[in-house]
């Protein structure tokens, strides 16, 4: 094992890891927005919105994320969408993970006992008031952990944008494997950085989960 080399390239990997962190945070936020909108559509009273939500989930979950990112980044300019690689990566990854989060959020909402909706409606509260004050607070407790699984997948999924040359951790590892011919060393450095990001995120999710369970 070439520790000398590892020490020398480490700063570049660290910098790339920061890009991976940025990608992950932005994707998590945008993905949650997509997921919430998707779940709202899937649970809508109107068939039209339900159909849109179901189509979104079906198409995104039925095709590879890599292809989705390629369509957006390489195919986008043909339909008037010009994005730099980083933005295309974030948007593509968000739309992708959003479909999975749609199902997570929807699943949590529909697993709240239907008596809760009835009780609140019986008191005269509207559908939306009930959602906001009764259903969503209870569903939120149920969704933290499965959303954590989605976010874990999302962090590893950010590696895909290496394929459109965003200089993040996997791209950097690939570049250095090519130039140093030391695949194991490069894998260890980047792998360790991924594990740290995932570990810290996991602790954060566990903390959040405990917090929502108590109140």
């Amino acid at each position: 094992m070439d520790f000398d080399l590892m020490m020398r390239v480490f700063p570049f990997f660290l910098e790339a890891a920061l890009v991976t962190v940025q990608l992950s945070i932005l994707t998590a936020i945008l993905g949650l927005i997509c997921g919430s909108l998707g779940a709202a559509a899937r649970l809508s009273r109107l068939r039209f919105f339900r159909a849109i939500g179901a189509t979104y989930v079906s198409i995104i979950r039925g095709t590879p994320a890599l292809i989705q990112i390629f369509i957006l980044y390489f195919g986008g300019p043909q339909i008037g969408i010009q994005l730099d690689a980083f933005s295309a990566g974030v948007i593509g990854l968000s739309v992708n993970i959003g479909a999975y989060m749609t199902e997570t959020i929807r699943g949590a909402i529909i697993s709240v006992d239907k008596g809760q909706m009835e009780a609140a409606r019986t008191l005269g509260m509207s559908r939306w008031q009930t959602m906001r004050n009764v259903i969503i607070p209870q569903a939120a407790r149920l969704m933290v952990r499965p959303l954590g699984v989605n976010i874990n997948a999302l962090i590893k999924g950010t590696a895909l944008v290496a394929a459109i040359s965003v200089i993040e951790l996997t791209y950097t590892a690939q570049r250095y494997i090519g130039s140093t011919y030391k695949p194991f060393e490069m894998f260890l450095i980047s792998g360790a950085l991924y594990m740290i990001i995932i570990y810290v995120t996991g602790r954060g999710i566990a903390w959040l989960d405990r917090k929502v369970q108590i109140t």
């Binding site: 198409i59 039925g62 095709t63 590879p64 994320a65 890599l66 292809i67 989705q68 390629f70 369509i71 390489f74 195919g75 986008g76 300019p77 043909q78 339909i79 590893k156 999924g157 950010t158 590696a159 895909l160 290496a162 394929a163 951790l169 996997t170 590892a173 690939q174 494997i177 090519g178 011919y181 030391k182 695949p183 194991f184 894998f187 980047s190 792998g191 991924y194 594990m195 995932i198 570990y199």
Partner: protein, 218 residues
């Protein structure tokens, strides 16, 4: 540059071959991930300590890092230690091992759950520990987790697109070849997406049949 899907039919042969390779990779890597998952699970639970510990480390690394990074490691790593595998084989091994680790986690939990009651029942009939595991516990444990393993197979199909990056000539790479000749990325990536979508539908239908079949024997 507007959209023009009329160029797509000219490349049907290229796309078709790509579909074939994607199906082949999915089946090969799927089988590897299934049987590998069983072997890994048994090793992780019952292997000697000296095997178990490095194995757990390996599983932990594979679950905590991106598949794409692992594919680079396998492809270039094998070359470095003097094994020059064809890209297809490297792709199958990478995908298969990655999902074998995930399947193994499912199977381990299932074995532990089944083992409690069934082991005793089998041992009172006079089966040895090994026989009880092989003939009674493991078959039941694996059947119980067929549905989540099926979900992993679906993920595997979609992740097979990644092996294009190490030069495996499957559907995604086929689309890229067509794009290289026509400069129409939108049309061909969408075509590839449609193909993936239908392969996925077929895979889901197949998995449902298997699940129904297995329901009967549970």
């Amino acid at each position: 540059m507007g959209l023009d899907f009329t160029v797509v039919p000219k490349f049907f042969d290229v796309i078709f071959i790509g579909v074939g390779w994607t199906v082949a990779i999915t089946i090969a890597a799927g089988l590897l991930s299934f049987f590998g998952g069983i072997v890994f699970a048994v090793v992780a639970l019952y292997g000697p300590l000296l095997v178990r510990l490095p194995f757990r480390l390996f599983a932990w690394l594979f679950m905590g890092t991106p598949l794409l990074l692992q594919l680079f490691l396998i492809y270039f790593g094998l070359i470095q230690i003097g094994i020059d595998l064809p890209a297809f084989v490297a792709g199958v091994v990478g995908l298969g091992l990655h999902f074998a680790v995930y399947n193994s986690e499912l199977i381990q939990a299932s074995i532990l759950a089944v083992d409690k009651g069934q082991n005793e029942a089998a041992r009172t009939l006079g089966l040895s520990r090994g026989q009880a595991l092989r003939k009674v516990v493991i078959p039941q444990a694996v059947r119980a987790v067929i549905p989540p393993i099926g979900n992993n197979m679906i993920a595997l199909l979609k992740d097979s697109a990644l092996v294009s990056v190490i030069g495996v000539a499957e559907l995604t790479l086929a689309a890229q070849q067509a794009i290289g000749r026509t400069f129409r990325p939108f049309e061909f990536y969408v075509t590839a997406a449609v193909c993936y979508y239908f392969i996925n539908l077929a895979l889901e239908a197949g998995l449902r049949r298997i699940e129904r079949h297995i329901q009967l024997s549970r």
